[in-house]
């Protein structure tokens, strides 16, 4: 245990916690809006297939939401238990942003979720639709504040340092800091794509098994169309985000491209094994002038290299690979969703080949992998800084010893592994049961009203 630095352990623990946590908001942010879409489609058409879809996916939402809430509580304690230096140094900026997240978003979601899940027979239909809308809005608002803070840590502005402590001077500049609009848009689209492929994958799985009925066909089609529409937008926004990073954090882009020297005609490296000791790449396969073209839009464009930032740039290999995993999955999503959308549009949903449905099943959690890879690029890419140019990660870590952090880390990892396995198993169970999944029962019947066809949507707590 002595070999392990408490700093590394604390970082791994934070990474484990936040990686586990982000999986669930990534689903709930967009799934909330998808549910609102299903609900509105039902309100308009009175077609029960939409309500079947709602009933199934609201359960996935409830489960994901619970996972997000409990892993989010862990986050709010982590700052104090492992990173006391963070709040001591930048608390004046981070504090209000976190406070606004809890005040405006967290409570909104938590309270209206109860009405959304259990209140269908207790409140008028429009109130229930409104509750669904407020929960979706709450999850998105939550993302807004958290991304604002994260982006401020990447590109801090609007502050001054007095007596070694950061003081806010311009809140507008802090919230809408240079990288914030790009990161927020990129993340919201990532959430929408994650949910599109989740719904497409689970629906395709059900469709392969036994057709699944009209609700399954409806969601499969909607999800493939949504993915086909969103992925080109995401690729465009991702490119803009990259250019923004080049402007504000050039060393991060240099590591993503494994580009060592500042030079014109920088090649786009498709494959390589970056070697940080020798400061070079092995087995490099590259497109000549590719990176210059993408990043500077001309072949002779000068792209900054890592050697300009010796001792002050992030580790190269995780960024290089993380970026390639994310982009590779993006390209795959483009191919899959356009093929599917084209086939459905021309020949209808039943003409989809079975191999295609299997490919969708394989891609069910592709959004998670791409999102995590992207966050690793941006977060590891900020190192060695915790707040760029203001606070180094090593200066924020707390006094807790290696043994203690190693124990808590082991405990967290064990719990997370079990929960993730249980979560995925339950998703498939719900997809298999479909609309026959245990629900449709009175939770708290309205006093004086007979239990009628207006059954609640979610049992939440009973078999």
């Amino acid at each position: 245990m002595d070999a392990l630095d408490p700093l590394i352990l604390a970082r791994i623990q934070f990474a484990a916690n936040i990686s586990f946590h982000i999986l669930f908001p990534t689903i709930t942010i967009a799934l909330g809006w998808a549910l609102l879409g299903f609900k509105l489609a039902y309100n308009r058409t009175k077609d029960v297939a939409w309500m079947d879809a709602y009933r199934l996916w609201v359960k996935v939402f409830a489960l994901s939401f619970a996972m997000g809430v409990v892993s989010g509580i862990t986050m709010s304690f982590q700052f104090g238990t492992n990173w006391p230096g963070y709040m001591e140094k930048v608390g004046n900026v981070a504090g209000p942003l976190l406070a606004y997240e809890v005040l405006t978003a967290f409570f909104l979601e938590a309270v209206f979720l109860g009405i959304m899940l259990f209140g269908f027979s207790r409140v008028p239909n429009w109130v229930h639709t409104l509750a669904t809308c407020l929960v979706a809005g709450g999850t998105t608002l939550s993302a807004f504040w958290i991304i604002a803070l994260n982006s401020w840590m990447q590109t801090p502005v609007g502050y001054e340092i007095r007596d070694g402590i950061v003081h806010a001077t311009d809140w507008w500049a802090i919230v809408f800091n240079p990288s914030m609009p790009y990161r927020l848009t990129h993340m919201l689209l990532a959430s929408a794509l994650t949910v599109s492929f989740l719904i497409a994958g689970m629906s395709a799985w059900r469709w392969l098994k036994d057709g699944g009925g009209e609700g399954v066909r409806r969601t499969l089609k909607a999800a493939v169309y949504a993915a086909a529409l969103l992925i080109p937008v995401q690729i465009f926004v991702g490119d803009m985000h990259g250019l923004n990073t080049l402007e504000h954090q050039p060393q991060k882009v240099a590591a993503m491209e494994a580009n060592w020297e500042t030079q014109p005609h920088t090649p786009l490296i498709l494959f390589a094994i970056p070697d940080e000791k020798a400061r070079t790449n092995h087995l490099e396969v590259a497109v000549p002038s590719g990176a210059s073209l993408i990043l500077k839009h001309e072949a002779a464009g000068v792209v900054p290299g890592l050697n300009d930032y010796r001792g002050n740039h992030p580790p190269v290999a995780p960024l290089f690979w993380g970026f390639r995993i994310m982009v590779g999955l993006g390209v795959l999503m483009l191919a899959i969703s356009w093929f599917g959308a084209f086939t459905i549009w021309r020949r209808g949903i039943d003409s989809l080949p079975r191999w295609y449905a299997r490919a969708l099943v394989a891609m069910t959690f592709a959004g998670w992998v791409a999102t995590l890879a992207g966050w690793y690029v941006t977060e590891i890419g900020r190192q060695p800084w915790l707040v760029t140019g203001v606070l180094k990660t090593a200066d924020a870590v707390g006094p807790v010893g290696s043994m203690m952090v190693a124990s808590s880390l082991t405990l967290y990892l064990a719990v997370y592994a079990v929960l993730l396995a249980a979560y995925i198993a339950v998703l498939y169970r719900l997809a298999r049961l479909g609309k026959a999944a245990p629900d449709d029962k009175a939770m708290f019947p309205i006093p004086g009203a007979a239990p009628g066809p207006a059954a609640p949507l979610e049992e939440g707590v009973t078999p």
Binding site: T81, P84, G91, Y100, K441
Partner: protein, 335 residues
């Protein structure tokens, strides 16, 4: 921006808001943690009913913890770091227990039936360990993180005391929310845990001033002691009154089934006022007061503006949710 009120007041206001959040958390999540522990005493349909009675509320209840700890984090960042590094182990255990408990709500309903007993167990142990850890932390906090043997014994006692308190408020919740035989049993549980809670509060109230000279001095001097006497007298009266109330069968149509829950809430509030009085103005006993620990006035003002608008709204829609889901929880049945 310039603070819009005297900066001296800002830490006082935030300490008050934080205290209010923690008190609301202890009462609200207290009842659902208590119900979580009591589920062990029942099986099958009754257990489902007990879980159903807290289903729509637990999420929002737990959010008061996030707000309370969040206010500590944002308003008193130095204290947040000092307190949580001192309490590292119980905090981690509590978080893992909270995770298990929170997800068990969902999994016990959605996992295959043959696995349900495992999630029931996770729900029970999660609730129990959460309560034990919170009690332990409360004890450690009151004594300023002293590590001597007598202090650790005190912390263990506080852990058991808080378990008793949560069981008590959980039983009172069930008296309010269920009917029939289960309600009768809930009344018995409330009677037993009432005395345990009273005992724990008495022991802690006596032990705290004996273990801390400063707290002793705050309580036992004239004229303060005369102003403070109503707290223990009111607590004792309420405990005795509720014990008598619980001995009689409940009224026709359950009209007064809310009385034990309301009384339990008031008792928790009285205990909380006692602790808060012992501490003020310190955040960490004898070491760090609220002005030393506070964030800058500019940051506190900007949070306060939001909090003043938002807190009444949160309280409003929390009340709304309890009103929408008012009345008795019922047995669940397939259509």
């Amino acid at each position: 921006m310039t603070p819009f009120i005297d900066p001296w007041w800002l830490p006082v206001i935030f300490a008050g808001l934080m205290g209010l959040s923690i008190l609301l958390y202890v009462v609200l999540d207290g009842y659902d943690l208590g119900v979580g522990m009591l589920t062990r005493l029942e099986k099958d349909a009754n257990r489902d009913l007990m879980v159903a009675s807290i289903g729509p509320f637990w999420d929002a209840n737990e959010t008061w913890l996030v707000l309370g700890i969040g206010l500590l984090l944002v308003a008193f960042p130095v204290a947040h770091g000092l307190i949580l590094t001192q309490l590292y182990l119980p905090v981690v255990l509590m978080l893992v227990a909270l995770i298990l408990r929170g997800v068990s709500f969902e999994f016990r309903a959605k996992a295959p039936p043959e696995q349900k007993h495992r999630w029931d167990a996770a729900f029970f142990y999660g609730s129990l360990i959460t309560a034990l850890c919170q009690g332990y932390m409360l004890g450690a906090y009151v004594l300023g993180f002293d590590q001597s043997l007598s202090s650790i014994l005190f912390c263990l006692l506080a852990a058991l005391g808080l378990v008793a308190g949560y069981l008590f408020v959980g039983a009172c919740w069930l008296v309010y929310k269920v009917e029939g035989d289960l309600q009768k049993r809930a009344v018995r549980w409330a009677e037993v845990t009432l005395w345990l809670t009273a005992l724990a509060m008495a022991i802690i109230s006596i032990a705290t001033p004996l273990l801390s000279e400063r707290i002793f001095a705050r309580w036992f001097r004239l004229p303060e002691i005369i102003a403070l006497l109503p707290i223990p007298i009111a607590s004792a009266t309420l405990f005795a009154g509720l014990a008598i109330f619980l001995r009689r069968p409940l009224r026709e149509k359950d009209e007064l089934s809310w009385v034990p829950l309301a009384t339990a809430g008031i008792l928790f509030a009285l205990g909380f006022v006692g602790i808060a009085y012992s501490f003020y103005p310190y955040l960490i006993a004898d070491r760090l007061d609220i002005w030393q620990a506070a964030a800058s006035p500019e940051s506190l003002s900007i949070i306060l503006i939001g909090a003043l608008f938002v807190l009444p709204v949160i309280l409003g829609y929390s009340v709304l949710a309890h009103w929408i889901f008012r009345g008795k929880a019922t047995h669940l049945s397939y259509e």
